[in-house]
Subunit: 211 residues, 2 copies
């Protein structure tokens, strides 16, 4: 996986090295956890000297924060708000949203990011806060906007925030905790699709078309 070739490009030097270090750190943290991973291990994996590592990040915790924020930023939900004409469209939008969310968030790397953030929550609340504000809240907000739009289109009725949480609950069930505890395997694409469909139909059963 890691680039074996050494093309010796001079242009994007700093950025490329930084990226390589983050990748190495993420992999090491994933496998061994934060505390058990030494900075030397990271430097060796990234084929970089500890000196460069420290000149770029300052200290170990900053590497963890950088890893998590970098990975979390990819999880931002798209801000496109599709047109919601009828219940069927809403169902399709919800199913697509759920499928995308589960596919992205059950990725082992993402699960590891959550595990790391949870591990360091007490000592480094910034890490957890970053994950919350960069990934979790935007997702909820995005879904909440869909719910509000569906409501104003007369497709269903209820508090958008509650509706959002209930849909997410039906979607996730207790999968995330299971993944975090390694008590569940990553679901296949088919299982994800089924979950998303079941969550959608369940949700629409709770919120039937008003009037």
């Amino acid at each position: 996986m890691s680039p074996r070739t050494k093309p010796r490009e001079e242009e994007a030097d700093g950025a490329a090295v930084r990226k390589r270090i983050l990748g190495a750190a993420m992999a090491a943290f994933m496998e061994g956890g934060y505390a058990q991973t030494s900075t030397l291990e990271i430097a060796t994996r990234a084929r970089v000297s500890k000196r460069e590592l420290y000149s770029l990040f300052g200290n170990k915790e900053a590497m963890l924060v950088a890893c998590i924020t970098e990975r979390a930023q990819r999880l931002k939900a798209p801000a496109d708000l599709p047109e919601l004409r009828d219940r069927e469209t809403l169902a399709n939008v919800l199913t697509a949203f759920g499928t995308k969310l589960l596919t992205e968030t059950t990725d082992p790397v993402v699960v590891a990011v959550f595990r790391l953030a949870i591990s360091e929550t007490v000592h480094a609340p910034k890490v957890a806060q970053a994950l919350e504000s960069i990934a979790r809240k935007p997702t909820r907000d995005s879904l909440c906007a869909i719910m509000a739009k569906a409501r104003s289109a007369g497709l269903c009725d209820g508090d958008p925030a509650v509706m959002t949480e209930q849909f997410l609950g039906l979607l996730w069930r207790d999968l995330m905790t299971g993944l975090l505890l390694q008590a569940a395997d990553r679901p296949s694409d088919g299982e994800i699709a089924r979950r998303a469909r079941e969550a959608t139909t369940g949700f629409l059963s709770i919120y039937p078309k008003p009037r």
Copy 2:
């Protein structure tokens, strides 16, 4: 909080000391996390010498495992299967079950136990497995038995396992992850009751009375 009196009881010696050590270890792990807590810290809190501590537990990881299993065992769901005559009884049973579950499991100590188990999942899978088999699975099984009974009583129709997961999803929503990341506060009794009611009505909307 810690008992200042020194009654010097001689009878339940070993068990009492063991209990005190477990309490001290749990408190220390909660506040500082596993890696950051030294065995000396635990011994000092428990007013015990490191010697006794090691003669009782052997090593540090065993203390963590003992802490988690001890606390998880209290979470076992009761095995009483109430009579399910009608939909209203089912609703009451589900609401009671949900209230009890949320009340127990949102306890800060329990959340800390989950956090510890998740932190050590990669290095010490036994810890996570213990939590899964002692606490999570029995809860699911207990609820699943209720669902199966409701089904055979003709109150609703569906796969009991799926029904169980959906009810738990509606109940929890994403509260546990929020608690683990310290992005959510512990819900009040009123909020817990409201959640349990909403989960029940939502669930019953998804699974209406057949025929």
